[in-house]
Amino acid sequence: MKQLRSSVKIAFRALAMNKLRSALTMLGIVIGVASVIATVAVGSGATERIQEQIASIGSNLIVVLPGSLTTGGLRMGTGFAVTLSESDAREIPLQCPAVAYAAPVIRGGAQVVAGNNNWATIIYGVTPDYLAMRDLSVAQGEEFSTSDVDGANKVALLGKTVVDNLFGAANPVGQPIRIKNVPFTVVGVLTPKGQSSTGQDQDDLILLPISTAKRKVIGFNPANADAVNMILIQARSAGQIAAAQEEITALLRQRHHLQRAELDDFSIRNMQEIFAAQEASSRIMAFMLAAVASVSLVVGGIGIMNIMLISVRERTREIGLRQAVGAKTRDILTQFLVEAATLSIAGGMVGIVLGVAASVAISQIAGWRTVVGPGAVLLAVFFSALVGIGFGYYPARKAAYLDPIEALRYE
């Protein structure tokens, strides 16, 4: 105990003697710990966000896309085939008792002009049900209605990013815009949703009545004038998702005249699966980032080893003298291990502060959510101590096993 206390004192004194050198050595650990903290923070932020989306969207959404998944799981043109139709979407809620709503969606890119400004964005042709199911609301103006869909009225709902680029700070509601040269009236602005967990801007879009989008903007698909890119379905409850999926599959196979041996010409997935997959991939991503960051921790450890080797060399006479007055192998070993651990733990502390600061900066600048948990901080402290002791061991051992005579005689 007295050895440990004095070792800490000796370590601080030795490190204070070479302030610049100690600081530079610590820098490696500082950077390592800071980057581990920051990447873990970004990773857990993404995961937490996905979990929140799952909770907020409700887990009873189902997506049907045209095209099939092969048995091997290889995607065969999902979303691009023309096998799903608006009439499928109409029939699903009527025929499937477990389904509450079904909303057909068509999609396409378009250039949009307002006054002197223009902007390329994605156009979604939808029905009012879509907004309710996606939990989209209108911040200014109002939604379009079923009668706008029936009448194929030229009305548009704009995402925040589109408004920013076309109108700046001006109020766009009631203003004319041209989408692919077709004049539309802006009836509303969607409440911003920010970035998705995968980093997409969820506000860079325009919603049009599906009928208008098909006739005036996106165009008919020559293979099937009734084709849609997606059908979004809401089951009556989370418990009825499986039933709904079965009913939909049976109905669509029947409507598409598929034989028993034929594969589905559509794919059906529920949001739970999709989010689970996203969550898994974001976890893997976070893990890989943290792994890369920990490489720099190892590099920092090598820096410590290097400096400790130099320090042992420089203090050879001191070691010899300590041995002459009775220091045992363990005493010298402890002294140098404590010194290495002091370096790395101090570096770890600074690294934690910087890592937390970096996480805050990332969430401010990039708009990503970051979460710094106590677990990550503890882990960082633990690892930096481990690195110090691990990489300090070899130099410390070298010091401890010096021959006292040779050490005393060392110049």
């Binding site: 007295k2 050895q3 004095s6 004194r13 030795a14 003697m17 006479r317 001191e318 003298l321 300590r322 041995q323 002459a324 007055v325 009775g326 220091a327 045992k328 192998t329 363990r330 005493d331 006292p404 005579i405 005393l408």
Partner: protein
């Protein structure tokens, strides 16, 4: 009671590649408790090698060494470290103080490695400094002390664990003769008052005269071993007084 130091046929051979240096070639001698011995001899005759073996800093190539009846030549590093800590005090020509520590901390150093807690270590160390005539300089760094003062700190450090033997290899080699004599007077006093055994290497007859026995080395062998009896050989004010006292002893 066995002699404090009992070496038998001690040899030490260094091999430097093809050349082998036989620094000690069979040294046999005993040193009794409480004696004050000077070791002399030309440069390279093996004096320091002998001192390192006696001090348990090094191990002989062959031969036996009984320290206080214990065969120490076969003990492991940590056992030897413990013996150095408890039984032996070293004083070096170059003082070997730790430069970043105060005088007091330097003196306390052996206590750090002593097994068991030492209450009021600082008070002990302060007393040791006073006993070598260095009060009031506890907080000085070695660089702020003169050579003689540094050697006094080193002596205080050697004494802190109350060892039985003080080994001094040319302790006055870097000091002027007046300071050297002052240091020697401390040794004489310690030997007299505390009965501590002192083995001292020196090139100076004047210094050797403080001892009661002079062992002569040449080419790794003991070539002479003479008791110092004549008061006339004891030079210096303390020396003469000490010699007179010695005469008075039975």
């Amino acid at each position: 009671m066995p002699p404090l130091i009992d070496v038998r046929n001690l040899t030490k051979t260094y091999s430097l590649g093809e050349v082998t240096v036989r620094a000690l070639q069979g040294v046999t001698l005993t040193i009794e408790r409480g004696s004050f011995v000077a070791v002399m001899g030309p440069s390279g005759s093996g004096k320091s090698t002998f001192m390192n073996l006696v001090g348990c800093l090094d191990r002989p190539t062959s031969g036996r060494y009984f320290l206080d009846g214990v065969a120490v030549e076969s003990l492991d590093r940590d056992r030897l470290a413990d013996i150095r800590n408890r039984k032996i005090g070293f004083i070096f020509q170059t003082f070997n103080l730790l430069p970043r520590m105060t005088a007091l901390e330097n003196v306390e150093l052996p206590l750090l490695y002593k097994s068991g807690e030492t209450p009021n270590a600082a008070a002990l160390a302060r007393r040791a400094l006073v006993s070598v005539g260095l009060s009031g300089r506890e907080r000085s760094l070695p660089s702020q002390l003169s050579g003689g003062q540094q050697q006094r700190v080193a002596i205080a450090r050697a004494l802190i664990n109350q060892p039985e033997i003080l080994l001094a290899d040319e302790p006055t080699g870097q000091l002027d003769s007046r300071t050297g004599n002052e240091i020697l007077e401390i040794f004489v006093r310690l030997n007299r008052e505390s009965g501590i055994t002192i083995v001292l290497v020196t090139h100076s007859d004047e210094i050797a005269a403080y001892a009661e026995r002079i062992i002569g080395f040449r080419d790794g062998r003991v070539v002479s071993d003479t008791p110092v009896k004549l008061a006339a050989l004891r030079i210096g004010p303390a020396g003469i007084g000490a010699a007179a006292e010695a005469e008075a002893r039975p």
